[in-house]
């Protein structure tokens, strides 16, 4: 599967996760929906950092070359 497809699927799923967590945290709709862009940015950024760390660890410790 193409990397772009992976990223697209991830972005779609993470949007659902973020919206649901915003709904869980905020009983009122308006503040919950307002907080989605910030939450989404933080979520995607945090996932990107984890992915980079994992790739680095793989390259340093698990490479067979």
């Amino acid at each position: 599967m193409m990397l772009a497809e992976h990223v697209l699927f991830f972005l779609l799923l993470s949007l659902a996760i973020v919206v649901m967590s915003a709904f869980y945290s905020e009983p009122e709709d308006a503040p919950a929906l307002r907080s989605v862009p910030r939450r989404y940015g933080v979520f995607v950024l945090a996932c990107a950092v984890i992915a980079v760390v994992m790739l680095l660890l793989e390259r340093v410790f698990a490479s067979v070359r």
Partner: protein, 275 residues
């Protein structure tokens, strides 16, 4: 003049929950509600027994032999009815080593035993509320009723609470996730036999997942499925995220109940609020 003061605790909520988890209705019996306890016991254990009967006690044989172990079924919905599940495992275990054809009604049987686990979790929350002395006067606003509705159809709990916009968004998002997942996996996610744990996750989506499974007839794999892993993940996440929606519904129902009690002067400080 209405009585003031906090609702009278009828027992320890944690004890009530633990008792219910092991034996459905035991928590209510502990709280002195014998008739309700009996009805709950018969309903929840009856469902499990019917499921056991239809599946000939072989529902856990769906689990991949490599994954079988003493704690392997704790992620299955049946774990909500712990006593019955432990008895099931001790009696039938994971079946014999020889592969035998499954009974005709095993899928329906496994759905019923899973449903029994979910109903018992709702019963646990009910016992917790009762132990804290919370007893709603209007059944339509009972947090456990709304919790069950939120499981049955994603968004229905919000809808009944009057939160219509959120209800529509929750429904579209979660059922949409499940639909896209099912499409990507070409319907292979709709079989507990094929994907035991992913099925457990999507079971939490309620009727959309169960009805789709029953209507689909569990299609066989006809060709290579390049997106099957993503499809399984999407369908499972639809169910898991519905738990957040259920907790949201339950939390708001509890808050509103507390608001009603304040309005009726049943909570401490209600006099000060009125003053």
């Amino acid at each position: 003049m209405p009585e003031s003061g906090p609702p009278e605790r009828r027992g320890d909520p944690n004890v009530a929950v633990l008792l219910t988890w092991f034996v459905p209705g035991a928590g209510h019996l502990y709280l002195g509600r014998a008739r309700l306890a009996l009805v709950a016991f018969l309903l929840v254990e009856g469902l499990y027994a019917l499921g056991w009967f239809l599946a000939d006690g072989r529902a856990f044989e769906f689990l991949n032999p490599d994954l079988r172990g003493p704690l392997a079924t704790l992620l299955a919905p049946e774990a909500g009815n712990l006593g019955a599940m432990v008895l099931h495992l001790r009696t039938s275990g994971f079946g014999s080593d020889e592969p035998l054809p499954f009974p005709t009604w095993i899928h329906l049987g496994s759905m019923l035993s899973a449903l029994s686990g979910l109903l018992n979790v709702c019963l646990c929350t009910w016992a917790h509320l009762e132990a804290r002395g919370v007893r709603p006067t209007r059944p339509g606003r009972h947090p456990v009723y709304l919790l069950l509705c939120a499981w049955l159809v994603p968004g229905l709990g919000h809808w009944l609470q009057g939160r219509r916009r959120r209800a529509a968004m929750v429904f579209l998002m979660l059922v949409g996730l499940f639909a896209v997942g099912t499409w990507l996996a070409a319907g292979t996610n709709l079989s507990r036999e094929r994907h035991f744990y992913y099925w457990s996750g999507q079971f939490l989506l309620g009727a959309p997942a169960l009805v789709t499974e029953m209507l689909s007839g569990r299609p066989p794999v006809a060709s290579e499925l390049p997106h099957v892993d993503v499809g399984l993940l999407y369908a499972c996440m639809g169910g898991l995220l519905n738990v957040l929606a259920m907790l949201d519904v339950f939390g708001v129902a509890e808050q509103r109940l507390a608001g009603d009690e304040h309005a009726e002067g049943r909570l401490s400080g209600a006099g000060e609020v009125a003053a």
